[in-house]
């Protein structure tokens, strides 16, 4: 017995020593040590950029993700003149070349006077399986050219905190675009953006290009400046390293259609046809029903079901009028005047009309969005995206907005839930309870939120007082739309095959076996995953 114990202990010690080398990561507390400022060396960044086989990374994820060709994702924005996709115009500005990467690595080692360079690669553990897989893949490719990689896994909130504090070396992170314009990405990396430019990439050339683009009134010049700026960031300075663009494999029951996916805006589930009772899958629950405080896609999708904005996006991502009957633009393109529909009404849960939607509701909404009390994440939407300087209710149904300069994406961006109208009287009445249940919201959209069981499901039924309702009914739009919260993709797939739900989100592991299934779609999302490199952010 003693012998067995002795053997066990000896083994333990032996094995412990051999396994112990892998878990020393995460020690970035005492920055800036000698080994963490290596990222100021351009060759280190180049070596990283050239080392990653993006095609292979995307392929291994197998969920419809594609290799990034630049920091701007595919199908985000199209050329205002020709209509070409940004990526087609900008081309592929990243490359994979092991030999070059090895050379850069060798040069970097020489310049820094080191035998070996070690990287702490930070990533989130609760941001989806694809992130973990991608981090493992990236680590592997970096090690292939000689880096020693420590994978540092953290929960998302902590990861973001570490990025904010500059307490990291390289982080696999992502950006979800809010609107269909390169600006949503390019703004992230200007030196003055201390919230998002975590690595403190600092290039006067880049800053100037972005500033020029944003100031430009000529759409083509603006476009070309952004192309140049992206090249400066990704292919000249190697400030941040794009890796892949998220996909989304799913199966949609072939009998239903009309789900409109938008890679740069909120998906639209208003026009589902083919079945009266539709049950859709969502892998996260609604976080907040308040359209001005919500920040996540799931909440936004729910809000577009029961709320409406001045415009909405069609299947191709082009805007069309919704709550607005008509609009006028001043000749210089800075003053927009909207006529709100006479038949637009606020409706309560039982379908009764509470009040008409007025211009004042928009004024209240925008005032509330920018107010400090609300601390909304999208407070900047009005000034930075819509470029609106002032807004007013001319009369009960006329809403006037003055922009700081002409804005080509203005109309499309009005379809974003944050700038949808609110009913102030109702909010004041409900107080803290506002938007915490189906009973404490009003609708002005095609559906009414009938019930919400947190963690389980939320259901929509038609709003018969919606002005387009007859068109919807004529088109055969679903009479009941249920969103079921399911986190496990395997049981969800079984439930789909059993016929109880009408869509299912697939994990990368399930794709191969189901890619020939009828109704399989590989949608492309707007999320671009990139390596944020901590160049200058050490305190």
């Amino acid at each position: 017995m003693k012998k067995i114990l002795a053997v066990l202990l000896t083994l333990l010690i032996l094995v412990g020593c051999s396994g112990g080398g892998n878990n020393g990561g995460g020690n970035t507390d005492n920055a800036p040590a000698d080994d963490v400022i290596i990222y100021q060396n351009e060759n280190v960044r180049k070596a990283i950029a050239y080392a990653i086989d993006r095609e292979a990374v995307a392929k291994s994820l197998n969920d419809g993700s594609v290799a990034a060709e630049g920091i701007i994702p595919f199908k985000l924005a199209s050329n205002p003149v020709t209509g070409a996709d940004f990526r087609d115009d900008a081309g592929k500005i990243v490359s994979y070349d092991v030999d070059q990467a090895k050379q850069f690595y060798a040069t970097a080692c020489e310049e820094l006077g080191k035998k070996e360079l070690s990287i702490d690669l930070l990533y989130g553990t609760n941001e989806g399986d694809s992130v973990i897989k991608a981090a493992e893949q990236i680590a592997y490719y970096l090690e292939e050219v000689g880096f020693k990689v420590n994978l540092v896994s953290k929960q998302k909130k902590e990861r973001l905190q570490m990025m904010t504090d500059g307490d990291y070396e390289v982080c696999l992170t992502r950006w979800g675009p809010d609107y269909a314009d390169p600006q949503t990405y390019m703004d992230l990396f200007v030196s003055t953006n201390t919230s998002n430019n975590s690595g403190r990439y600092n290039s006067a050339t880049y800053d100037q290009l972005v500033a020029d683009a944003e100031a430009s009134l000529d759409m083509t010049e603006r476009w070309n400046k952004f192309i140049e700026a992206e090249k400066q960031l990704v292919a000249v300075d190697f400030g941040d390293i794009p890796v892949f663009q998220a996909g989304g494999a799913m199966i949609i029951r072939p009998t239903i259609s009309g789900i409109e996916f938008h890679s740069a805006a909120v998906d639209n589930y208003r026009h589902i046809v083919g079945k009266d009772n539709v049950t859709l899958v969502t892998n996260t629950d609604i976080i907040y029903l308040d359209n001005q405080v919500a920040t996540d896609g799931t909440s936004f999708i729910a809000q577009t079901m029961f709320l409406s904005g001045l415009t909405e996006l069609d299947a191709d991502g082009n805007w069309k009028l919704d709550l607005a009957d008509s609009y006028e633009v001043s000749d210089d393109g800075t003053v927009y005047t909207f006529k709100i529909r006479d038949d637009a009404n606020w409706v309560d849960k039982s379908g009764n009309v509470v009040a008409p939607v007025t211009a004042q509701d928009f004024v209240d909404s925008w005032d509330r969005l920018v107010s400090e009390d609300l601390a909304s994440e999208y407070a900047w939407w009005i000034s930075d995206v819509l470029l609106a300087d002032s807004w007013e209710a001319v009369d009960e149904k006329t809403f006037k907005v003055t922009l700081s300069k002409p804005n080509g994406i203005f109309m499309g961006c009005l379809a974003f839930p944050s700038c949808f109208p609110i009913n102030k009287a109702f909010i004041d009445e409900k107080g803290d309870q506002y938007a915490t249940s189906a009973d404490t919201v009003l609708s002005c959209g095609p559906y009414i939120l009938d019930s919400w069981t947190p963690g389980y499901s939320y259901e929509f039924v038609p709003n018969n007082n919606y002005y387009f309702r007859s068109d919807y009914d004529a088109a055969g739009t679903a009479k009941k739309v249920v969103f079921r919260v399911l986190e496990d993709t395997q049981t969800a797939l079984m439930e789909y095959e059993a016929g109880n739900i009408d869509t299912v989100i697939l994990s990368g592991e399930q794709v191969d076996a189901n890619k020939n299934a009828e109704g399989f779609v590989n949608r492309l999302q707007g999320y671009l995953f990139y390596l944020s490199i901590n160049i200058n952010h050490y305190e």
Partner: protein, 311 residues
């Protein structure tokens, strides 16, 4: 006895108070904040901190929280369902979790006792080996693998039961999750019952009973079982609590809006109030179960009662 129970209850309350404090401190140590988000600026974060009173010192927040808790107010959620009253969130989900847990415990206890008793009565025979094998397999395979297998074969292939949880038929759709969850308690109770019962069967007083010529079945029911069950009851408390913790995985697989899953999400989202509330609910359950077991133990086993009253 009354004095003893009162003393135990008071100690339990004090323990709970300390646990609450510990949870508060743990929350404070947790890296990150509920408001970390790519799109939130530092200034906005500070605003939110002030809005929810998180900028106050720890001890002030703790006493405020404890005070509100006595009124039944557990604060609001910061990240999962923003501004939702946590007491509502917990209340709704606790019921479902307790239902699954209760069913699983019932299945586990009955099956476990049957397996354990069969094995002990047929000690060292093939029945014993079979029962032991079943119980060992039960503790050897992770519950999520069992759950998925059950789901695949019983619900998906054979269609006997619903695959996922369904509000409209709560009982039927909770059977499968309860079975999946009961695998490990079954195994644990079976093993424990077996070894306790073998001990009892080999004891001198049973020999005495046998020599007095008491009928076999009567002996088993009135002498062996009673003495076997006493120690079994003591392990059931911790098993029950473990089972509730373990339910988070089952809840995820079967799409059940339960408290286990809520707690995991809350921890990952740094949703302080929800985490504290869920964790505290578990603590309360644990303490209550332990208290109950303790008192029950005294009731069943006269020796314990006397020993405690002597003190």
């Amino acid at each position: 006895m009354k004095k003893y129970i009162l003393k135990r209850v008071l100690i339990s309350l004090a323990t709970l108070f300390v646990i609450l404090l510990v949870l508060f401190i743990l929350m404070d140590l947790m890296p990150g904040t509920p408001f970390n988000d790519e799109k939130l600026t530092e200034a906005q974060k500070a605003l939110l901190y002030a809005k929810y009173g998180l900028d106050k010192p720890l001890i002030t927040r703790f006493f405020l929280y404890a005070k509100n808790m006595l009124k039944g107010d557990l604060g609001v959620s910061y990240a999962i369902n923003k501004n939702f009253a946590v007491s509502e969130m917990v209340k709704d989900r606790l019921g479902i979790s307790l239902a699954v847990g209760g069913m699983a415990m019932l299945i586990g206890t009955i099956l476990g006792l049957i397996l354990g008793i069969l094995a002990a009565l047929n000690h060292n025979s093939w029945i014993d080996n079979l029962c032991s094998a079943i119980s060992v397999i039960g503790v050897s395979i992770p519950s999520y693998v069992c759950a998925l297998l059950l789901c695949y074969f019983i619900a998906y292939k054979l269609g006997w039961l619903p695959i996922l949880y369904n509000v409209e038929q709560p009982f039927v759709s909770l059977i499968l999750p309860a079975i999946a969850l009961s695998v490990s308690p079954t195994a644990n109770i079976a093993r424990f019952t077996r070894s306790e019962m073998i001990d009892v069967l080999n004891s001198d007083y049973i020999l005495l009973v046998q020599s007095k010529g008491v009928k076999n079945w009567k002996m088993i029911f009135s002498h062996v079982l009673r003495n076997t069950l006493i120690p079994v009851i003591t392990v059931m408390g911790p098993i029950l609590v473990n089972l509730l913790t373990g339910s988070s995985v089952i809840e995820k697989i079967f799409g059940i809006p339960g408290i286990g899953r809520l707690m995991i999400t809350a921890i990952q989202e740094n949703d302080y109030n929800v985490t504290i509330a869920c964790a505290f609910v578990y603590s309360v359950m644990y303490i209550v179960v332990m208290l109950f077991v303790d008192i029950l133990y005294g009731v069943i086993d006269p020796r314990i009662r006397i020993a405690k009253e002597d003190k």
